[in-house]
Every structure is written in structure tokens, then in C-alpha cells.
Amino acid sequence: MDFLNTHLLSLILFIPSLAALVILFLPSEEHKFIRWTAFLASLIPFGLSVYLWIQFNPDLAGYQFEVKYAWYDAIASSLHLGVDGLSLTMVLLTTFLTPLALLASFNISDRVKAYMMLFLFLETGMLGVFLAIDLLAFFIFWEIGLVPMYFLINQWGSANRNYASLKFMIYTMGGSLGLLLGIQLFGVLFQTFDLAEIVAKWNMISPNATFGETTITFATIKTVAFWAFVVAFAIKVPIWPFHTWLPDAHTEAPTAGSMILAGILLKLGAYGFLRLVLPLYPEQAQYFSGALAFLAVAAIVFGALASYGQTDFKRLVAYSSVNHMGFVLLGVAAAARAVGTLDATIALNGAVLQMFNHGLSAAGMFFLVGVIYERTHTRDLSKYGGLFTLIPVYGGILIFTSMSSLGLPGLNGFISEFLVVRGSWPILTVYTAIAMLGLFFTGAYILKAIKNVLHGPLNEHWAQGEHKLTEINTREILVMVPLMALILVIGVYPAWILDVINKAMVMLF
């Protein structure tokens, strides 16, 4: 037990990669065996994170379960891991969604081995971002996750996958350039990459000091670096106007890829805002909070409108991510403007919970799109119609999950969006008011999707013959059940998770 407690984070982080290496040596024709190995292996980190959640003491400030391994001594970077309430929530989300996504991928029959390996490596990459508290290690995991995702889209995606995957890769890599340069600057200035140390030393630098032998003041450098970080994370979130890679990537990605992309990868960007941007640039964030709020509101409103305008079911869900993640940034902007106040804390609580909730509902929505696409081979909303009578169970699940996305009270989405709006209202009243209008369009596009797919006159094409639609099968239901259960639990009783988040937010900011 002692070993478990001292190595808990490294076990969670590396077990997926280890499992991937084990799969490498399995015979590639044994599809079933490989699938089950991957799925069962991904349950181990989930079990460990539940254990982590239980063992975690939310009342302590700072990081817990810290471990530090020597990695790159020559430039003073180490593999330094630790969790606080913020990263804990994200770790739980990641380890929870990955097994579901793997289960959702059981229908993949093309190069199963490579697929499962990439997926498990992807999990390590994502967990690393949440767990690392060494800036260089953070960046490494941040970038390394791109590679499996690129290949998942490029190799298992649909028709336009080449364009989409390259766009995804170049956008994100290009966006991270500023982050990379910023991290290098920290390394040069402080000879360390330890996050806590950098935050402390960086904030001590006087704005009038100059950099090296140049006449550039740190006030300028901090402003430039602030925007470099914001752009890097905003691309990942994604925030309008940096979101254009997202609909393409989502639309072309295989179903499980979309689930992870929307469920977790987007959270990496939001996590970057909370973990790095706010602590490193409190003054700049405060100064530019209006701009951030503007971007957030633009994402909410344009995301909703764009979503409403789609005729492709998957693109509709993809744009809904822009819309929902906008609320996360709105919460961040509000907290940046009035840091330390009660309203700011409420907004941050909402933002973090919204990250978790969107992870659940977006993963569910993308999976459901995948389920129907697999049967009909179309995502065109006008080709469906009245399907509820044919597939009532699927219809029920789709409505339930959409309602979470729509923000129906009693389900999880309502809690987090309410908290964001409640916290932001006194701080950024006008922006929040406009964002509320965005909420109206959220309702509109969700209902549009439901109407087009499930209701209205039945499209006879799907009713009989070779195109007869089959009901959602047991495996697919099993993917949805845990998601729906958690959606409902958080909606009815959010205290168990909000307690952890709230204490973390109070101590962090």
C-alpha cells in the first residue's frame, strides 16, 4: 500500500503506455484479445484515480502525492508530478472517458493493434499535462498528445481526413510556438522549470527591469508572453477566432477520437488558462480581462449560431463545443478581473465544473452521432427524420444527453453554466448578459438536432429493406450508461465534486 501511495501518480500516468507496449507484442490478428486488453488496461488508471480521489485531502493547499524523477538534469528539468483539486478533477475525467472511448471503438476492425496503442499513448499524453508541475514536462506531454491524435484522425477518419488532421496538427503546433518560446525564456531566466518556483520568481520581477543586455522591459515581455500563452491555449480550447480547426478535426475523426477530442483535449487548453495563465500573468489577465470576455462571448454566441446553421449532425455537435467552452473562458475572464472575490470564486467553480460536464456531455453526443452514422452512413440532418419510432431507446438516450448539453436543470450542464453566469454577472455584467442570449441559441440548435433526427415525418428509407435501422446495441448502451449516470448524479447532487473544486479554487486564487 505504501508503494501505491508513493507512486500513485506515476502509475496512473504510465500504465496506459505500458499497456500499449504490451499490446505491441500481441499477435495483430487477435482483434478481440487486443480490444479487451486495451479496455481492461485502461480501467486500471481509472480505478487508481478513484482511489486517488478518495485519498486526496481537499483541505490541504498545494500539490499532493508529489513525485519527482530526474529527467534532464543538464537544463534542470525533472519529471515532477503532483495533483491539486483542479488537476484531480481533470485526471478523473480523463481516466473515466478513456475506457468508454475504447469500448466505443470495439467496432474498429482495421489495424486494431495500432489503433489501441495510439489511444493508450494518447491517454498518457493527456494525463501528463494534468499531472506535470514542471513546465518543460507539461510542454512535452502537451505536444506529445498531438501525435497519436493526428494519426487517429489521419488513419481512421472519414473522407476529408488528410486536410483535417494536417490542419489540426499545424494549428496546434503553430499555436504552441509562443508557449515553447515562453518556457525557454523561463528556463533562461530562472534555471529551473519547476512551476511553483517559476510562478513565485516571475511575479517578483519588477515590470521596469530590463531583459539581459537589451532595453526591453519586463512589462513588455510579460504582455507579449501573456498573449503568446493565451493564443496557445485559446487554439486548443478553442476560442473564437482560433476555432476553425475544430469542426474539421471533429467531423473527420473516428467516433472515439471525437469523444476524446471534445471530452478531454479541449480541456487541456482551458486547464492551461487556469494552471498557467492566471497564476503567471495576474496583472495582464486583469488588464486584458475585457478582451478575454469578448472572445468568450464571441465563442458562445458565434458557436451557437454556427451550430444552428449546420446541416451535418457531427459539425453541429462540434460547434456546440465552441459554444460550451466559451463559458469556461467567460468564467476565467471574470475571475481574472476580480481575482480573490467571492464572485470570482463562484465563476471559477463554474468554469472547472463546466470543463468536467462538457467532457461528459460532448463525449456522449459524439458517441451518439457515431452510433447513428455507423448505421446510416450519413450525417446529413435532412436525411434523418422521425427515427424515434424506429429506435426509441437510442432516441431516449439522445434526448437525455442533449438536455445535459442544453443546460436543463436537474442535469449537470445547468449547474456549471449557472455558476459561471452567477459569478460573472456582477463582474462582467454586459458580457454575461450577451452570453445569456447565446444560451437561447444553444437551446435552439439542440432542439433543431433532436427535431431533425428523431421527430417529424418518418423518412421511410430507414424503415425497411436493407437500410432498416437497428436499435442501439448492448455495448453501445454500456458506453452511455456511465456517462448518463454521472450526468444525472452531478445534476442532482453536485456537492461531492464541487467541494473539491471549490477548495482548490479558493486556495489557488
Binding site: 530526474a70 538534469d73 512535452i140 488513419q155 503546433m173 533562461v188 539581459g212
Partner: protein, 504 residues
């Protein structure tokens, strides 16, 4: 005196070349087996040097051997390695071994791969070249360094002219040889001036670089002679604007020679420029570092852009080498700890990576008879090892964290930051350009649909090809995941250079 491991490493290929020439030309497989044995022997010894090299607190040269050669002129055969050259000796061993592996090929008159034309002479020349390369990395005597340098350059001409790509081999071989000879003559003049000047002031005429390091040349002397010496060697390192020979040479050379050429020979230039230019004329280096940095930064960005527009795989890799060697020079030009550390690792990392690129390209060319990216496609299905190897190389190339390229590039950029922030920002653009062309190549060559006329003509790789690919990949991933495998060693070499620079 211990076992003279460095001289054994240096002369093993030479002796093997002589033995190979003694075998009858028809005994092709025996020739190859002998070559492989010699290469494996050299690889094991160089790995032994690498492992036995003492890291803790050491700064000087290790495994030093000294034999009088021409004592009257102060020329001796002195071998020794420091933290910069020990990895390069290992690199040469790896590239030599894998180069022999992939040259074995399939002896099928209808679909030959590897080297099937006069393998005896091919391996003999290749091994003479390898001896020269080992010699440059291990020499501590300036005269001997030149001696081995020329030995390394000359077989290149024959290898390209005889076994090269029919369309351009005469042109490329001539261009390459002339460029490199002119460069080395310029550097040789500088070296002789150093020899006379040091001799006049101290009274001891010697080519021993350990003595020349301590010669304390005057600032004016160093300023005047640094540029010829540095750039004379740096021509071989492919520094802009003297890089022009290099892509042509890469393209025309047969596969194993391209591997040697880009993997090791270009390091030879960068290494000699560092060893003779920076280490013997440190104040000169400080005086001119801005110029090197400018040339290097241009090479990094310009090379990446030119690589981006190529459609011929080999030209693409050739220009990407210019870009990556530019990063080595960029690291050298910082003259600080991080930059030099990164440059040292980058030399190794780039050597492995580009050797792998050329190996895979050669395998594809042997089968498809084209290197034009638009005419290729779908190779991933028939050549899975080649495609995974190329992808890993590509990730190294774009500096993806978790691979050796990142371990090298990150400190280089940190070094540049503390010297001149603008250069760091400009040079970082190359990362995205590199990602773009690597991704484009991977998609175009390995994925998508295979053109109809290639279908059914692509024979699988041999087991030896696979061993070569896996070996190279292991090093790139190993260093990427565990930088401690190499960085402490490079650090010892860097400490020595920094002490010559006046503890800067």
C-alpha cells in the same frame, strides 16, 4: 598502458577494407559478411568507449594514446575523446553498421536492392571513408586531423561517381569534392599559421591540439584567422551560404553513402569547426559569433523553407539537413553552456535521424525507382517497418518532445535566448515549417493510395533492413525519453570548451 581502443576503432575499417579487397569479387556474400563483422566490431568498441567514458567531474580527454609519427615536425598520432567526440564516435559506429546492413539487399537480378554492383570495391571505399571519419573524431593532433579529414572526403568522390544516381553523379561528385577541398585548404592554411605562430612564441613546434589550446594567441591573430578556419571546416557542415554542394551530393550518392554523408560527414565539418575553430581560437569565436549566428539562423529558416517546396524525397531530406545542421551551428555560435550542449546532442541526434531517412528513402527508391513524392503513396501497407521508422525520424526532425530532436533543440534555443532573443524567435518558425513538410511527406509517401504502376512491384524489406531501422529508432527514442543517457557526457565536453572561452 591500457588496450589502445581508439586506434583499434580507427584502423579496423581500414584493415577490413584491405581484407575485403583481397577476397575474390565473386564471393559477394563472404565480402558482405566480412564487412558486417568489421562494422559490428567497430560498433561494439565504440559503444564500449561510450559506456566506459567517465562522466563525473571529468573535463579533459580520455582514452588518450600517443605515438610518434614525425617527431621532427612535432607531428604525432594522438588519439583521445572528450564529451563532444565520444558520442560522435558511437554515431559513426552505428551509421557504419546500419549502412552495411542496408547495403546487403536482395541479390535478385530483376529487382535488386541494396548494393549489387561490385560490392567488394564499394565496401572497401566505404570503410576507408569510415576510418577517416573515426580518425577525425578521435584525433588530438591537428595534422592528423587534416590527414583523416582528407581520407574521409576523397572516397566520397569515388563512391558517388561509381555507384551514384546516373543522372547527376558526375556533377554532384565534382561539386562536392571541389567545395570540400577548397574549404579544407583554407582551413589548412589557418592551421599552419597557428602551428608557426605558436611555435615562434613558445619555441616548441607541435600540432598537438592540447598544446595549441594553451598557446594564447593574441586577440588580433584570433580575429584574423578564426573565420578562415571555422568556415573552411563549416563548409562540410553545410553552413549557409556554403551549403550548396550538400543537397546535390545527398541526392546523387547511393543509399549507404548518403547515410554516411548526412549522418556523419556533415558532423565532421561541424565538429572540426568547433574543435579547431572555436577551441583553438576562442577569442576569435567570441569576436565573430554574431556572424556565425546570422549564417546559422539563415540556414535554419531558409533550409526549412526550401525543403518544404521539394518534391524529390532526397532533396527534401538534403535541405532539411541544412536546416538541422544550422541548428548545430546556432548552438555553437552561442558559446554558452546550453547552446553547446544542445549542439553536441543535435549532432548525434541529427546523424541518427538523417541516416534513417536516407536508409528508408533508399529502400523505397530501390523498389519504386522514383523518389518523387507525387508518384509514391501507400507504402505504409507494404513496408510497415520503413514507414514507422520514417515517422519516428520525422517526429525527431520536427523536434517533437519525447524524441532526441527535442532534447537537442530545446537547449539550443535556450542558449540563443540568452544571447539574442530575436534569433530564437525567428528560428523557431522553422519548427512549424518542418512539421508541415514532414507531415506532407509522410502522408504522400506512406499513406493514401499506392499508384497503380507500383502495385505488386514493392518487395518486402529484408530482415537486415529491419534490424537497421529498429537500431536507429531505439537511439532516437532512448535519448528522447532518457536524456541522461547522453547529456551528462556532452556536458563534460562543454565544460572544457567553456573553460577555454574563459569560463564564460
Amino acid at each position: 598502458m591500457n588496450f589502445p581502443v581508439l586506434s583499434v576503432i580507427v584502423f579496423t575499417p581500414m584493415v577490413a577494407a584491405a581484407l575485403i579487397l583481397l577476397l575474390p569479387a565473386e564471393k559477394r556474400n563472404e565480402i558482405r559478411a566480412l564487412a558486417l563483422t568489421a562494422a559490428a566490431f567497430a560498433l561494439i568498441l565504440s559503444a564500449w568507449v561510450y559506456v566506459q567514458y567517465l562522466v563525473n567531474g571529468m573535463t579533459g580527454y580520455q582514452f588518450v594514446e600517443k605515438y610518434d609519427w614525425l617527431p621532427a615536425l612535432g607531428i604525432s598520432l594522438i588519439f583521445g575523446v572528450d564529451g563532444i567526440s565520444a558520442p560522435l564516435v558511437l554515431l559513426t559506429g552505428i551509421v557504419m553498421f546500419t549502412g552495411v546492413l542496408i547495403s546487403w539487399g536482395i541479390d535478385d537480378p530483376h529487382a535488386p536492392t541494396g548494393i549489387q554492383d561490385r560490392p567488394r570495391e564499394f565496401f572497401a571505399f566505404l570503410f576507408i571513408l569510415a576510418s577517416g571519419v573515426f580518425g577525425v573524431f578521435a584525433s588530438l593532433d591537428l595534422f592528423m586531423l587534416f590527414f583523416f579529414y582528407e581520407i574521409a572526403v576523397f572516397p566520397m568522390y569515388l563512391l558517388i561517381v561509381i555507384w551514384g544516381w546516373v543522372k547527376t553523379r558526375e556533377y554532384a561528385a565534382m561539386k562536392l569534392t571541389l567545395y570540400l577541398f577548397i574549404g579544407s585548404v583554407v582551413a589548412l592554411v589557418g592551421a599552419l599559421v597557428m602551428y608557426w605562430t605558436a611555435g615562434q612564441t613558445t619555441g616548441v613546434y607541435t600540432f598537438d591540439m592540447r598544446a595549441l589550446e594553451a598557446a594564447n594567441f593574441s586577440q588580433a591573430f584570433q580575429n584574423a584567422w578564426f573565420l578562415p578556419v571555422f568556415f573552411g571546416f563549416a563548409v562540410l557542415g553545410g553552413i549557409w551560404p556554403f551549403h550548396n554542394w550538400s543537397p546535390d551530393g545527398h541526392v546523387a550518392a547511393p543509399t549507404a553513402v548518403s547515410m554516411f554523408h548526412a549522418g556523419v560527414l556533415m558532423k565532421l565539418g561541424a565538429f572540426a569547426a568547433l574543435r579547431v575553430g572555436v577551441m583553438l581560437l576562442p577569442q576569435g569565436a567570441q569576436h565573430w559569433s554574431w556572424l556565425i549566428m546570422t549564417c546559422a539562423a539563415v540556414a535554419v529558416v531558409y533550409g526549412a523553407f526550401i525543403a518544404f517546396v521539394q518534391t524529390d524525397l532526397k532533396y527534401m531530406i538534403g535541405f532539411s539537413s541544412v536546416s538541422h545542421m544550422g541548428l548545430v551551428m546556432l548552438g555553437v555560435s552561442t558559446l554558452n553552456n546550453n547552446g553547446l550542449l544542445g549542439a553536441g546532442v543535435q549532432m548525434f541526434s541529427h546523424g541518427i535521424m538523417t541516416a534513417l531517412f536516407f536508409a528508408v528513402t533508399g529502400m523505397i527508391y530501390d523498389r519504386a525507382h522514383t523518389r518523387e513524392v507525387p508518384e509514391l503513396g501507400g507504402m505504409g501497407k507494404v513496408l510497415p517497418y520503413a514507414s514507422i521508422g520514417f515517422i519516428i525520424g520525422g517526429l525527431v526532425s520536427m523536434g517533437m518532445p519525447g524524441f532526441s530532436g527535442f532534447v537537442a533543440e530545446f537547449p539550443i534555443f535556450m542558449g540563443v535566448w540568452s544571447k539574442q532573443w530575436l534569433v530564437a524567435v525567428v528560428a523557431s518558425v522553422s519548427i512549424v515549417i518542418t512539421a508541415a513538410y514532414i507531415m506532407r511527406i509522410i502522408r504522400g509517401v506512406f499513406f493514401g493510395e499506392m499508384p497503380e504502376k507500383l502495385q505488386g512491384h514493392i518487395s518486402p524489406l529484408t530482415a537486415l533492413d529491419k534490424i537497421a531501422i529498429v537500431t536507429l529508432c531505439l537511439f532516437m527514442v532512448g535519448i528522447g525519453v532518457f536524456p541522461a543517457m547522453m547529456t551528462p557526457m556532452v556536458q563534460t565536453g562543454v565544460q572544457h570548451i567553456l573553460s577555454l572561452l574563459g569560463g564564460a
